[in-house]
Symmetry: C2
Subunit: 200 residues, 2 copies
């Protein structure tokens, strides 16, 4: 870049631009915002970055992100140990927790099988799930991977791995999102909604 | 937030969400990306943030962001000291430098007059510009504020402040952007393009 940009500024632009979804334009905009903002805004971000890397780890039971091991959910004796919801990402745990409709345990895979991205079953926490089912008290596995190609492939792989281990397996229902319009539903979703129709 | 999110993660989400244009969803996405990314990605961002705050200052001449004072542009004896382009933001300096068509000096206001946002002339580096004109060798002031309401108000204020000081004042030309379609030009721009038509 031109000498009109000092190196510390260039460095920060580059560091921002390495984040997903942040292009060079956004990276400059953020950087020049921080140049003018109170020091505290940059420094609290810098501290939070260091702090998160230093103080979080994976829960040794469910592989969610946590400070304490096991994580608060795994350590909660009031939750139903017999159910495990298998999700792709920590954010999926949050989404399910927000519903308030689930009181079981979780297992975070940290991704989905994706041959195009070079992600195979061994890159995910599937082996750990199988071990957990072998050793644990789980009676039902809810495979809550995303309803798409990669999530489906992952679900099928897990289903095969856990077959014959005496656990019930289920997947999240597919159909029309609540509050949506049939008129605007894509035909794959609508087909699933028809196939999965419930008697009333 | 729920206890499913450890505090260091919440803190980082909040720090990201304080940035302009970063909503809570993007902030979570960035945070969970960094949780999985190599440590180096977070730490280089943290370092760049601290480093930028520690090692940059405003140039005491033009108020651009710089490591050395005066900045490389102000210190460049080969540049034309008689012209000063007055811009709102450091990024505007970059944009003009990129053209390669300008070899004069700059003055960065750090904003524009905006009564709705509570920004008056005293919040900008206008006094410093007047002093610079009084003491300096400037012969022409190119007022390169943005072509909008706030930029226009700022330009008019500066024009009034510098009136009678024996400097030529100009503003950037307005008209159709190069490569654009007349068909799609907004009528304000098209009006300016008509008013500013050049004989050929």
């Amino acid at each position: 870049m031109s000498k009109a940009i000092p190196e510390p500024v260039t460095k920060l632009i580059e560091a921002f631009a390495r984040l997903p979804g942040v292009g060079p334009k956004t990276a400059s905009r953020l950087t020049y915002y921080l140049l003018r903002a109170p020091d505290d805004v940059s420094l609290s971000l810098a501290d939070a970055l260091r702090d998160m890397k230093a103080n979080t780890r994976y829960c040794s039971v469910c592989y969610n992100i946590t400070v304490d091991d096991p994580c608060p959910i795994c350590a909660d004796a009031l939750r139903d140990q017999r159910m495990i919801a298998v999700v792709e990402e920590p954010l999926d745990v949050l989404a399910i927790e927000r519903t308030g409709a689930y009181k079981g345990m979780y297992h975070v895979l940290h991704g989905a099988i994706s041959p195009v991205n070079g992600i195979g079953p061994d890159d995910l926490r599937i082996r750990e799930l199988v071990k957990r089912v072998d050793q644990g008290v789980a009676k039902e596995i809810i495979i809550a991977t995303n309803p798409g190609l990669e999530g489906d492939a992952t679900a099928m792989y897990i289903q095969r791995e856990l077959m014959g281990k005496g656990v019930k397996m289920s997947r999240l229902a597919r159909g029309l999102p609540v509050g949506s319009d049939i008129e605007y539903a894509d035909s794959v979703t609508l087909t699933r909604a028809l196939m999965g129709r419930n008697e009333v």
